[in-house]
Symmetry: C2
Subunit: 555 residues, 2 copies
């Protein structure tokens, strides 16, 4: 005996979850609500619908067929929003091209995704020219300009976007098709190796949109987003569909503001003039904005911001809150849609004092609605949510990428036993908030468990003599791996504090249970500087070079 | 060339949309939030999860297998909520038995749904006894009592619910299965013929829950529902899962209050003591509550109510608003999950004056998120949303019943050309609000279009001499059908106003375009009383009997 499938009538019709259905509600609820692009364009949802139809007709007219891929290279704009809908709705695949990569990688992704047409901002034409000879599939360019003029008369340019739109029909009968149809493709940056193509289906993007709605509108007594909010993205639209929020704000019929390139003065000016209330950005950009002189004269108390892409520090969170900004951390990756967790406050936490709130707001996040999230040990067994036991973060959700395009081997690495393996490790606190502590590849696998190198670094930095610390794994016959610590001392301590002092300091944490005995670094190197990458992160790769001792020696 | 299906990795895992996933968020966001049953029981979501596991174990222990049907006969209770989850989550089908029907129909539905076990309130045992001999599939009863005692020792009674729960394990590994698996079955009342079984799958119930969330939390600047609300149903849980709202409030982790039988004093008392902020009910019950002496001393300004099941009148809406109640109409049917439309105010309408708001609040509704709703003419062509052209209401949504259980013929009637035919006719106003004016079978099909009998009745009632009016269709060779009007005159007008006066009065509406020429009743009968059904509705069936003229005669 098994579960009973629902009986279907002969004429019954399955309702597929398609992106076009996200566009219907705003036309009913708030057709006059605005879409704004800088101080250049402003139109309502009725016009958005017509422009989406025009774009689909334009693409059809230049020969694009269902199943083919259309790429877009633009900064955040109304045009980008239009492509989010028109391209998948006609049954094609939208490639949101990340143009901030090496020319080789750029050409690779455009070829790999088999882009037939590129919608390209005129400002990116020099970049296109530099890779043009390597492109194998692009037949036509459509030029995106802010003033409607056509920059160059190169033969591959089909025309200027606005001019072409104005010649196209404003009605298009968008067809129904299978909800598993591919809608978008984007490429992970991947610090090493070739970029990997992450694909999303219509069903996945629709479910992700409702997941965002649940996560940000239903669980709080003062919802983070609703139809009254004014949205402006501050993570690029090529980066996992600006975290899916343009789809959510369209579904809710909210006002949307697109800022083009991220210039701090333009951003602050748009926040003030368009009364922006909701954004998402990386810590670096928030840091720049919070330290902008202009912000001092502004009332930021209506602004709500989700921080992702990197950890939100307590200091930055505090600085934001002091300016009146309601902000918290969120978590995800390209492969996950991206929403996995958001550090929204539970209703009872809204009454907590600021410092206690900051601890939660800076957590990686509380798993979102429809996300199953677990932390598991090396054997795959779930571990307790005690705020200290760390394990690998594995997830399930209706919108997770099913694998990488044309790459079954890497896809198989991503999934195991029905769970997507994030490659992050961390703990879950007793309130249910995840704290990612490390990338799995940077963690130390010792004695059958993981030790987060960042956690150990934090412990060592507690020593009064230490100004910087970095921890990495070295192979160990008995334990599998053991931690290696690289330490820079503060001025005045050099020559006075030895490796053994640091080791003894760590032993105190063994006594309290915060660190296992074999988690104490046996090898500690006191050095003058710690190598960092071009973006300021500790370079774990270079750590093991130029050490003042041989790694094969005993401690 | 067709759309591209998403590529799947070998180990990839589809995430099915299952009811069990609705239960996870409250355990994360508000595990301590309460479920309350009258003044008898109160527990939190952690306990709810355990009790759901206990119920599943209990059912498994008495031999229920996946695919089998479990019936429940109870008034609104925490037990009912537990069955909403436990039964479908174990892969069984929950039959929410409507016990307010004739014993023959009751036995028919229990047999037709093949119930193996009945969870039955002890107060309904006499009803069970009256149909017991007709039941063919029920093997065991589980007795639902408020005091935990076991009423009778009849052999078919497996035990009392609380006693059995307490003996069961509080962990159950609810399996994954196909999201199209059948979750619930309920029977439409259907004034004629045998009841029809309407089935819903896990996917449909999950999507309906997110549809409710979108409709009631995202589109308004002051959301109708969120996690801070306290929910109490006032339409029975056997009536289309209490409109699906127990699933929504569980997903949101809100406080839920179950009132048992609908006794006005108990209801008002619970609203006051539990601080209920959100309910749904039929106009009759709201009318009773608003006219209850107790309500005069109560502050009702936090209460939000969705009205459905019958039209919300302007007078009742006004009376509710005067008590501070925020209320509006919603629309759906058993076959539609039920949500199709809700007359929520658009953001800009929140500033309108009360009378203008009442007009919108009493509309049938604005189509909900994920609902495609059209009005079509007799040929199936969509008609304009001009606030007067009427057509049949047809719908699509991800949660519509795919047909009736074991009844392919009636199922085929329900669906045509991929749309579910509601059997209602009405118009859509320029703001997009649907107004249902009639049941299709009561409408007059004349000259290739429909005339709503209720609309014509309203026109005739405008005449100063008319106290009551009823309109029905009679066959007409030239026009297909023509309206027949039955009129009761006010005292003092009898003998002074003739049929021809009424006809001439209707002609004025032809002049304004509100009524087509052939919509004017040629046959009008002035009578002493209009026949009504047992619930006070006009009996259109009996209208044509006992007329003062022969229907075959000319006017």
């Amino acid at each position: 005996m098994t579960v009973r499938k629902i009986e279907r009538a002969p004429l019954a019709y399955d309702y597929p979850l398609l992106i076009k259905n996200l566009l219907r509600p705003p036309l009913r609820y708030s057709p006059q609500q605005e879409i704004v692009y800088k101080d250049i364009i402003r139109y309502n949802y009725l016009t958005l619908e017509k422009r989406i139809a025009r774009l689909a007709n334009l693409l059809k007219d230049i020969g694009i067929k269902q199943g083919e891929t259309v790429g877009i290279m633009d900064w955040d704009s109304h045009r980008y929003l239009e492509s989010f809908f028109a391209v998948p709705m006609m049954g094609c695949v939208l490639h949101t091209v990340n143009f901030r990569r090496s020319p080789e990688n750029l050409a690779y992704t455009i070829n790999h995704a088999e882009n037939r047409v590129l919608l390209i901002n005129e400002g990116l034409l020099p970049l296109f020219e530099s890779v043009k000879d390597q492109l194998k599939t692009v037949r036509k360019l459509i030029l995106l300009t802010d003033d409607g003029t056509r920059a160059a008369a190169a033969p591959e340019i089909a025309g200027e976007y606005e001019a072409l739109l104005s010649q196209s029909d404003d009605r298009y009968d968008f067809p129904d098709f299978d909800e598993d149809a591919m809608a978008t493709i984007l490429y992970t940056t991947g610090s090493t190796g070739t970029p990997k193509g992450v694909c999303f289906s219509h069903r996945q993007l629709v479910m992700h949109t409702y997941g965002l709605m649940a996560g940000f509108s239903a669980y709080q007594t003062r919802p983070m987003v609703n139809a009254g909010d004014v949205y402006m993205p501050l993570t690029p639209m090529f980066h996992v569909h600006a975290w899916g929020l343009p789809y959510l704000f369209t579904l809710m019929g909210g006002k949307q503001v697109y800022p083009g390139k991220y210039d701090p003065e333009t951003i602050l000016n748009l926040i003030a003039t368009e009364q922006v209330t909701f954004s998402h950005c990386v810590p670096t950009l928030l840091h720049t904005l919070v330290n902008c002189p202009t912000i001092k004269e502004m009332d930021m108390s209506a602004w709500k911001v989700i921080i992702g892409g990197a950890a939100l520090s307590g200091d930055l969170c505090r600085a934001g809150l002091e300016r009146g900004i309601n902000l918290f951390s969120a978590y995800g990756m390209s492969e996950t849609g991206p929403l996995l967790a958001a550090a929204i406050l539970k209703p009872e936490m809204e009454a907590w004092d600021t410092e206690r709130q900051i601890e939660k707001r800076c957590r990686t996040g509380l798993p979102a609605s429809m996300v199953d999230l677990e932390i598991v040990d090396i054997t795959g067994k779930p571990i307790p949510h005690d705020g200290k036991s760390i394990g690998e973060v594995i997830v399930r959700a209706p919108w997770l990428s099913q694998g990488y395009a044309k790459d079954p081997l890497k896809s198989a690495d991503l999934w195991a036993d029905g769970w997507l393996h994030t490659g992050d490790i961390g703990f879950i606190d007793p309130d249910g908030y995840l704290q990612v502590t490390d990338r799995l590849r940077d963690a130390i696998k010792t004695g059958g468990e993981w030790i987060a190198s960042m956690e150990l670094e934090d412990i060592i930095r507690e020593h009064e003599a230490v100004s910087e610390a970095a921890v990495t794994a070295v192979p160990d016959e008995k334990w599998g791996e053991k931690p290696l610590a690289i330490v820079v001392l503060r001025d005045g301590y050099k020559g006075k504090v030895q490796e053994e002092d640091i080791r003894q300091f760590c032993m105190k944490y063994v006594a309290t249970g915060a660190l296992p005995r074999h988690g104490v670094p046996e090898k500690i190197a006191i050095v003058d500087t710690i190598p960092t990458t071009s973006v300021g992160k500790i370079s774990k790769k270079q750590l093991k070079q130029n050490l003042p001792f041989n790694l094969e020696d005993g401690p």
